[in-house]
Symmetry: C2
Subunit: 163 residues, 2 copies
DNA sequence: TCCTAATCCGACCTCAGTGGTAGGCTTTAC
DNA sequence: GTAAAGCCTACCACTGAGGTCGGATTAGGA
């Protein structure tokens, strides 16, 4: 798997917050119930999103979380990066403090040959990040609101790897 | 990390085989020495590539591996898929026996709302696969052959056979 | 006919990270 | 004051990654 449940749960949390107007804070407990997620685990995930500045919290009774930024302005690369820590296709892609990846594989300083796999992983990484950047939270929220009409329709859920 | 060392080592192996003309089989031992990889582990990785039909083996003394397909015809999606087993961004993307991925997340049968995260992970998966499909082994081999010019010896890279 | 070099194969091992849980503390509305 | 919420730290089981080991099999050469 590429991403862990942190990304999955975190994005679901964002979607849930996005589906609320943002008028009142939404408690993690309610999100955990709706999404059927472990509350204690979700708390830690929320902390990651808060640290990134994507959500804001209100403590105390009737507290909870709201989006700190408009859903249109939240691109998923930022969210997933906050949740997963780094988006590196390979071990030797060490992320820098600046946010961009720096290659540090064993073949880099061995000047016998160029590390050709680097070319491949760099392309893959770019493909992932572009896919994430193109998707906003607003888009996912809109998508989530579509479905309830059709329940029994067999959608084409098959993803051709080779196609 | 997205990919494991299986993909890294396997692609390096393919590159090494691609850099040889394919006239004589290349032993894993020589590849392991040149790339500084554990031989026993590399054997299991080679088995994956052979099973996929990307490389062919010759047993016995002076045996080894050669590319079973031209380097131009090997796209990296096929190689990485053989090495990693499946390219699924998330746990709920269960790979089928047919080789394509089928979505089976917990939100599928819960008809309350559409699983919006599916949209995101599908895009990511597509981004990865496209990046892999665009890259051929021949391209990586050419890239690997570029660097030695900077050093003193512009010789083609040798695998320790005969020196 | 050995010896050696190579692929092949299955069992085993160790370690880090994932995916949690438990328990308590702090803040705030009613 | 109490309940509901966020916050925080420690712990813990399980899985998979990343090997290792020992052997079996095949083939070339002296």
């Amino acid at each position: 798997m590429i991403f862990t449940t942190k990304a999955e749960y975190g994005v679901r949390l964002l979607i849930q917050l996005g589906m609320q107007g943002g008028s009142r804070p939404v408690s993690l407990k309610s999100v955990a119930e709706v999404e059927n997620l472990p509350l204690a685990y979700l708390e830690r995930i929320a902390a990651l999103l808060k640290k990134e500045g994507l959500i804001a919290s209100t403590r105390g009774a009737h507290g909870g979380y709201v989006l700190a930024v408009g859903a249109e302005d939240i691109t998923m690369d930022r969210a997933v990066l906050a949740l997963e820590g780094a988006i590196a296709p390979m071990e030797c892609f060490i992320d820098d403090a600046a946010g961009d990846a720096r290659v540090a594989c064993s073949h880099h300083d061995a000047d016998r040959q160029h590390c050709a796999t680097k070319l491949l992983w760099t392309r893959v990484q770019l493909g992932i990040i572009k896919s994430l950047q193109r998707t906003t939270l607003a888009e996912l929220v809109a998508f989530a609101g579509l479905q309830p009409a059709l329940t029994s329709a067999p959608l084409p859920y098959r993803l051709g790897i080779n196609g």
